[in-house]
């Protein structure tokens, strides 16, 4: 990939010097401490016309930084200034190269200053003490400007990518985003928000990922203590089109991941499970030929999703927006189009119409209607939660659950999920377990999303009763169920759902909690979790009339509680033990005992009836007989009323999850830095594009 001038001149070069790219020669001239631009009037023109050799530049910069910083600083400052000049130039190749150069400069400085932090000294070293503010402001404004270039402008995608490289490099100079000084400049220049949302609308396919990453990072900066203009802007942002685009960007990545997983899974059906898992995770990281830089579903996408759900209530309506644009499913093929002249996604309807009439709707599975963000996300959760033994995956699962928690707290989202007209087919992956068969049925009926969500939660409960008990996730899971139920109770929504499996799962969980007493009580407050579970039963018992569909379902609540009475009895005894001696759990154990009151009343009441009845009979009682008994003996039963069963602590990130999010941000930045590689070849691509264009322009 050496420049042409190189090959032409090479015979004239002295033999002893190794073959050098011309740009390298120019770099060397700089680092020697001279001022080559004084001799050569075209020095900078040449400098930016040539393809950036990022690797060489980076190494040299680092070397000179440590060897002779005093020499480097003025050179660096000049370079920076020149970059800024050329970024605003009209020559597109120079513009592109200037972006890459500035990107390398910032990256280098941040690398060498990693320990001390990217503070004022570093900034001073980079662009001189005077006017640093102005310079960065100019930089961000130019980036902004680049973002808004019309798509029909050839090479615009490449330019925008380069601009993203710069801005993301600025955002990731420090692992701890709060220590990143450059973020202040972003905060000052709010126009950036407008331009990235515009980008979302105009070309979500090519820049969606970058926008998500940038947005996620911007929103993390000083989240709780000081000003973050982006948080405000984003929380009141109500451009439906942009939000829908955002949802589709996230949704399509998740969808790709799901599909990849599905292919992998079916391919490895025969081989052993664990091997398939490891190969899958491995391959997902390496082979995922998605958008630029997107190797797997990054946490940053989920982070953006989380922030959208958490901050922006308008985003909720985009959750169930089904993607009908073709690009969403063909994201993988888009990497190649980077090199091509930009696509024009918005064609006038007239021409589209003509095309549509002829198309043979061959890819009708795109029309299945189930690739909306929420249903894709639920499927994704079902995959991710299978691997929550892995710490990284566990974090991702937690993020997913936080998203679900936010969703279930939103009235509108709940209403949508419960709307019987809005049904989707959600395929939930189930971890293979010995005691149950794997169902690979693909033609599931479509159901309201709340059903899928409840199934997902139930699946989690069943599959995670393990030694390394994910207490936190269980708490969230129960919280999600409670939120759904209290929505139903509040709005008198009668979801057609068979609750029995859920009750069984919950009862099993209660049993498991007792069995693991020795390990679990050391660290966690089991009783609190148990109380929440019991409260769910209490909701059914005391408010069943508001959200159950049939009276029979109400009978079944009693049937299940009576059938598993020993679990509740043991739980009571368990709580009793802790309540009566002094320990840290005393209070919550007492509370659990209180919450159990009704269930104990029920089991006692009906067990006596059942016993007396079964004494008159020889055979063990059938289910119907017991149900009959229950039905006939309601009258003599009186229960206590629990207040506030449907009240829950509203999720608040600051109080409970601040460190988690700091961690996630750190990981995201770390990941970006690890993967950091400038693809400077795009300048060659750009020149090719421009070359091809020449005849058409004339």
């Amino acid at each position: 990939m050496s420049a042409d001038s190189n090959t032409v001149n090479k015979s004239f070069w002295p033999v002893k010097t190794a073959l050098k790219e011309k740009i390298v020669v120019l770099y060397d001239a700089l680092f020697s401490g001279d001022q080559p631009w004084l001799d050569n009037g075209h020095y900078w023109d040449d400098f930016f016309l040539l393809k950036v050799n990022a690797k060489y530049l980076l190494e040299e910069l680092e070397r000179t930084y440590f060897d002779k910083p005093a020499v480097l600083k003025p050179q660096l400052n000049t370079m920076f200034d020149q970059c800024l000049t050329f970024i605003n130039a009209t020559h597109r190749i120079r513009q592109l190269n200037a972006y890459y150069t500035i990107c390398t400069l910032i990256h280098t400085i941040s690398r060498v200053n990693q320990r001390t932090g990217f503070g004022n000294p570093a900034l001073d070293f980079l662009c001189g003490s005077e006017g640093a503010d102005n310079k960065f402001e100019t930089l961000i404004e130019s980036v902004n400007h680049t973002f808004l270039i019309d798509e029909s402008f050839s090479g615009s995608i490449l330019l925008k990518n380069a601009a993203f490289d710069v801005i993301l490099t600025c955002c990731t100079t420090m692992l701890n985003i709060n220590e990143n000084m450059l973020m202040d400049y972003m905060m000052a220049n709010v126009n950036l928000f407008d331009s990235i949302t515009q980008l979302l609308i105009r070309c979500p396919a090519s820049h969606g990922y970058d926008v998500c990453l940038l947005l996620a990072l911007l929103l993390q900066y000083h989240k709780y203590d000081t000003s973050n203009t982006y948080i405000i802007r984003f929380s009141v942002f109500d451009d439906e089109v942009a939000l829908t685009s955002l949802a589709q960007v996230i949704g399509s990545s998740l969808n790709e991941y799901n599909k990849a997983y599905d292919i992998e899974r079916t391919a490895n059906e025969s081989s052993s499970w664990w091997s398939s898992l490891t190969t899958f995770v491995g391959s997902a990281i390496q082979s995922g030929a998605g958008n630029r830089r997107m190797k797997k579903v990054d946490d940053c996408l989920l982070l953006a999703f989380y922030e959208a759900v958490h901050l922006n209530r308008n985003f909720i309506s985009a959750l169930t927006h089904t993607a009908t644009n073709s690009w969403t499913t063909k994201g993988s093929s888009l990497s190649s189009t980077d090199a091509l002249p930009p696509l024009i996604p918005v064609l006038s309807s007239a021409s589209m119409l003509a095309v549509q009439d002829q198309t043979d709707f061959s890819n009708m599975d795109d029309f299945s209607g189930s690739n909306n963000l929420l249903s894709v996300f639920l499927e994704y959760c079902s995959i991710i939660q299978q691997f929550s033994k892995n710490e990284d995956m566990c974090n991702t699962t937690k993020l997913c659950y936080l998203i679900l928690l936010c969703i279930t707290e939103d009235e509108f989202a709940n209403a949508t999920m419960h709307d019987e007209n809005v049904t989707f087919t959600v395929y939930l992956h189930k971890a293979p377990m010995r005691h149950r068969k794997r169902s690979s049925e693909k033609n599931l009926p479509s159901r309201p999303l709340a059903v899928a969500l409840l199934d997902l939660m139930m699946e989690f409960i069943w599959s995670h009763m393990m030694r390394n008990f994910p207490f936190d996730l269980y708490t969230k899971c129960i919280g999600i169920i409670q939120r759904i139920l209290s929505f139903q109770k509040r709005t008198r929504t009668r979801l057609s759902y068979s609750w029995r499996p859920l009750w069984n799962a919950l009862i099993c969980l209660l049993k498991f909690l007792q069995n693991c007493e020795s390990q679990l009580t050391k660290h966690r407050d089991l009783f609190q979790l148990a109380s929440r579970i019991i409260n769910i039963f209490n909701l059914f018992i005391t408010f069943g009339d508001t959200f159950l569909r049939t009276p029979e379902a109400y009978d079944e609540v009693f049937y299940e509680t009576v059938r598993c009475y020993h679990v509740f009895d043991n739980l009571y005894a368990f709580a009793f033990r802790y309540a009566n001696n002094d320990n840290e759990f005393k209070e919550s154990a007492l509370k659990l005992m209180v919450n159990l009151t009704n269930i104990r009343l029920i089991t006692n009441h009906f067990n006596t009836k059942i016993e007396t009845f079964s004494n008159t009979q020889n055979n063990p009682l059938t289910e119907n007989q017991v149900l009959d008994l229950i039905r006939n003996n309601y009258d003599t039963l009186a229960l206590k009323l629990h207040d506030d069963l449907d009240q829950y602590d509203n999720y608040s990130e600051k109080t409970s999850e601040a460190s988690f999010f700091a961690n996630i941000t750190r990981n995201t930045i770390g990941q970006y830095r690890r993967q950091y590689s400038l693809d400077t070849n795009s300048s060659v691509q750009l020149s090719n594009i421009l070359l091809n264009e020449v005849p058409t322009i004339s």
């Binding site: 905060m187 709010v190 948080i231 829908t244 549509q356 909306n372 069943g544 629990h642 509203n650």
Partner: protein, 891 residues
């Protein structure tokens, strides 16, 4: 004098086409004269003068082409036609001048006369009738325009004048032309379509294009059609924007600009349109004079086209971008698919323009809206199951929603309105084997004028209730948004953040639980007008109902709330599970009869839900529900079916209904409004609160009589008897209609029953000479089955006798006004490719079915016979069985 030339060019081919009598040339010339006059007037920029038309012409006639020697005095044109008539057909003239001369007669004579003079006269006569009456006959006019060259030249002036006045009329014309021209024009249209398309985008190229077309199109007939093609795409909308339409459409609404009390009111429509025309010309000419200064819409018009990418936009400045978004008509993912970028009526500094001065396409928004609906209908049949179809439909509708509110309207609802939202979760696919017609529920807001009234602000679905703090924030940010004050925003927002973090976001979310709950409550009595009140009401009512939560829980602060919930203490109150279970049982057994949701027939449940309930429910869920003018309308979108039959049937039924009301025959017809969009797509007005007999039988599993009993009460109850009477009256009416029009394909899926007991037939796809697959089933005069008779009370009942009497009376009444009915069908038959006219002499057959030669007694006997034979018809039963086995439609 550009404009003079333009008009002249346009009219030349017409002159050629007409059988040129000297007077008709004269007419044309006068038109030119007037045009000329107008443009001159504009040049002088005078206000409309008080000159009488005659004087005007006299003044300017000297300036016109001197070749016209016959051009004497203008007034003679009209008088000469009249004179001619009075000489030749004194009787006719008397008829035309008399008060009994209705639109129907005019249209009939226009069609039947061969005399150019008479046609000429009638063409002018059209102007004398109210717009609404003539609109009814628009299909007839269009059909004649297409197929009868001599008439087309006569009514051309009328049509164009009307088009200039109203976008709605232009749209109707465009659609009808499109539909009726379809077969013949396909060949002619193709070669030039590219030119046409392109020129549509650039208004100022149009003149050249028209001239070009006039040279190319040699055949007079096709030239006329071509003219119309152009007409509906560009020629008209250029003229018809503006206050004239405001005054016409919204005359009975309060005027937009209150202070406007000029002479506008006492001018008649014609002069207004003239003014409109002239002002337009003035604008355009001014543009031209200024040289190549493109107007805004010119640029956007170019961008709109698919040639967009050939004109690379240089770095769009961000500021410019925000100020003037590009035109993206028809691009649903843009969010502005139905926005034609016309900002003329935006009030600037409190001043609002009276008319639209931009060149933005006026027909395009509605046309794009309809295209979008139709495109969805085209896609749906390819989706495998009903379930998936509905899913898809919902998501497509959601996509449409992104582009709403917009200045679009549903043409068959006559009141001016804006479409603000589609209640997308309610849309459902209807029953049909291979096509996928679907019903959409559209939320509209009434307005004074569709073009000028401000659109409601876009509301997000999830934003049912926006918090105060949030709104303030938006406002502030917007205020400070100008890019120059970055620093200010920074500092301003800094202080805002703190409050945001501590108050705005979190409390906002936590309050949703307590407050949103009330909005979402499913209580039925809540009227949306006083939502504020109803919220508290419903809350307290619910609390009272359930009775165990004291009121104050609603007012708890989030902080305390969380503390309380963790405590979750036991109160002393006791509850009885037996009560809970009893309530649960009650919920299931009481309440209205609703059909269950069935994945194979999703529409049954949707259609069964009573309209007012549905409207209320949707209103509550809608972010626009609080608007005073909010309304819900519905429309069925049908693709792949020829709705021109339906339109014909609609016209026929409307006339019949009129006739019967004039003659006081108490029968019931419910004509279904049709909007024909092309020869195979269109919109149908749904009948509210009605479900098909098939759906009734399938869902209730009752015989019709038992269903009546269940729906309306016991046999002796008032409701039941009224329902039966309604049934009989509607049954009689439809028996006549089915008989006269020979409507076939009468299976139970095509017969509806509404909530008052009326029987309503739908789907007139097979009538007159057309039968389904030409199988020859259904040979009986109309469909009456034993089940229907059972509802009436059996063969011996009074009601059954009443039914037969009604049929007789209705038939006699129809016979009396036969001419009105015949003309509708006759005119449409002319040159028609419709398959209902494909076999035999349809009009003759229709005429025979009126039994003109029979006495009333004979007719009575005949009716008796028809009912008898229909009742005992084997073929009706065979057809029902056939439908049962092939399409699963209940017998």
């Amino acid at each position: 004098m550009m404009f003079f030339r333009r008009h002249a060019q346009k009219s030349t081919p017409q002159q050629n086409s007409i059988v040129t009598s000297p007077i008709s040339i004269n007419l044309e010339k006068i038109k030119i004269t007037e045009d000329e006059h107008e443009s001159t007037e504009n040049e002088l920029s005078t206000t409309p003068t008080a000159l009488s038309p005659i004087a005007k012409t006299v003044t300017f006639s000297n300036e016109i082409d001197s070749t016209i020697t016959t051009n004497t005095i203008t007034t003679t044109t009209t008088t000469s036609t009249t004179e001619h008539l009075s000489l030749k057909h004194p009787g006719l003239l008397r008829l035309f001048d008399s008060t009994v001369c209705t639109v129907s007669i005019v249209i009939t004579y226009l069609f039947s006369t061969k005399e150019p003079m008479v046609q000429e006269f009638l063409g002018r006569k059209l102007f004398e009738y109210p717009d609404e009456e003539l609109d009814f006959y628009l299909p007839q006019l269009i059909n004649m325009y297409i197929h009868i060259p001599s008439i087309s030249s006569v009514i051309h002036t009328y049509l164009t004048t009307r088009c200039c006045q109203s976008v709605d009329f232009s749209l109707q014309c465009a659609w009808l032309l499109d539909a009726y021209i379809a077969e013949q024009m396909k060949v002619a249209k193709k070669p030039n379509s590219a030119v046409l398309d392109f020129s549509l985008q650039c208004a100022w190229l149009l003149d050249a294009y028209i001239a070009e077309q006039m040279k190319v199109a040699k055949k007079p007939n096709s030239a006329v059609r071509f003219l119309f093609d152009i007409l509906y795409e560009k020629y008209k909308p250029k003229i018809c924007y503006k206050p004239t339409t405001i005054n016409n459409i919204g005359s009975n609404h309060h005027r937009l600009d209150e202070e406007e009390n000029e002479n506008a009111t006492n001018q008649d429509d014609d002069t207004k349109s003239e003014r409109a025309l002239s002002q337009d010309n003035l604008m355009a000419s001014m543009n031209r004079k200024r040289g190549h200064q493109k107007s805004r819409s010119d640029v956007s018009g170019i961008i709109l086209s698919r040639y967009k990418h050939s004109l690379p936009m240089m770095n769009g400045e961000p500021s410019k971008h925000r100020r003037q978004p590009r035109l993206c008509l028809g691009d649903l993912s843009s969010g502005r698919a139905f926005d034609n970028n016309c900002w003329c009526f935006e009030s600037v500094n409190g001043f609002r323009r009276r008319e639209c001065t931009c060149n933005a396409p006026k027909l395009a928004p509605v046309r794009e809206f309809m295209t979008a609906l139709i495109n969805i209908g085209k896609k749906l049949p390819h989706v495998p199951t009903k379930d998936k179809k509905t899913q898809n439909l919902i998501s497509e509708m959601k996509r449409m929603n992104m582009n709403l509110p917009a200045r679009v309207w549903i043409p068959f609802y006559r009141f001016p309105h804006h479409v603000v939202r589609i209640a997308f979760t309610e849309s459902t696919v209807l029953n049909s084997r291979d096509r996928a017609p679907y019903i959409v529920y559209i939320e509209i807001v009434l307005c004074d004028n569709v073009f000028a009234s401000p659109l409601p602000i876009k509301q997000n679905d999830s934003k049912l209730r926006s918090t105060r703090s949030e709104e303030n924030l938006i406002e502030h940010i917007n205020n400070h948004q100008s890019p120059s004050v970055n620093g200010v925003i920074g500092s301003y927002l800094n202080c805002e953040t703190q409050s945001l973090d501590s108050e705005l976001i979190d409390p906002d979310r936590s309050f949703t639980n307590s407050e949103d709950a009330d909005i979402w409550s499913t209580s039925d009595e809540v009227t949306a007008d006083d939502q504020q009140q109803s919220q508290t009401q419903s809350a307290s009512r619910r609390n009272g109902l359930i009775g165990y939560r004291s009121n104050h829980t609603l007012n708890i602060n989030p902080e305390t709330q969380s503390i309380r919930s963790t405590e979750s203490h036991l109160s002393q109150q006791e509850i009885m599970p037996s009560d809970i279970r009893k309530r649960l049982t009650e919920v299931q057994t009481t309440g209205p009869i609703l059909f269950d949701r069935d994945p194979d027939d999703p529409s049954a449940a949707t259609l069964k839900e009573p309209w007012d309930k549905k409207e209320q429910r949707i209103r509550q869920a809608s972010p626009y529900g609080h608007l005073r003018n909010w309304r819900l309308v519905a429309a069925i979108v049908k693709c792949g079916d020829d709705l021109r039959h339906e339109l014909l049937a609609y016209q026929f039924m409307v006339r019949l209904k009129e006739i019967w009301s004039i003659e006081h025959v108490p029968v019931f017809v419910r004509p279904i409004n049709i909007l024909v969009l092309s020869n195979n797509s269109g919109l149908i007005e749904p009948i509210l609160n009605a479900v098909s007999l098939h759906q009734i039988k399938k869902n209730s599993r009752l015989s019709l009589r038992n269903y009546f009993l269940r729906e309306f009460g016991t046999e002796r109850s008032e409701e039941f008897l009224t329902a039966v009477r309604n049934f009989v009256q509607s049954c009689a009416a439809y028996s006549i209609i089915c008989y006269l029009l020979q409507v076939k394909d009468r299976h139970n899926g095509n017969i509806l029953l509404d909530d008052e007991g009326h029987l309503i037939h739908i789907d007139f796809g097979y009538m007159l000479s057309a039968t389904p697959k030409n199988l020859g089933f259904e040979s009986s005069p109309f469909k009456i089955t034993q089940e229907f008779v059972d509802i009436m009370g059996g063969l011996q009942s009074d009601m059954y006798g009443y039914y037969k009497i009604l049929i007789l009376r209705a038939l006699i009444a129809a016979r009396k006004h036969m001419d009105k009915l015949m003309s509708i069908v006759e005119i449409m038959q002319h040159g028609s490719q419709l398959n209902c006219f494909s076999k035999g002499n349809v009009t003759l057959g229709l005429r025979e079915r009126f039994h003109l030669n029979m006495t009333d007694e004979q007719l009575e006997f005949n009716v008796e016979k028809m009912v008898e034979s229909s009742l005992n018809s084997l073929t009706t039963r065979v057809y029902d069985t056939f439908q049962y086995y092939t399409n699963g439609i209940s017998k």
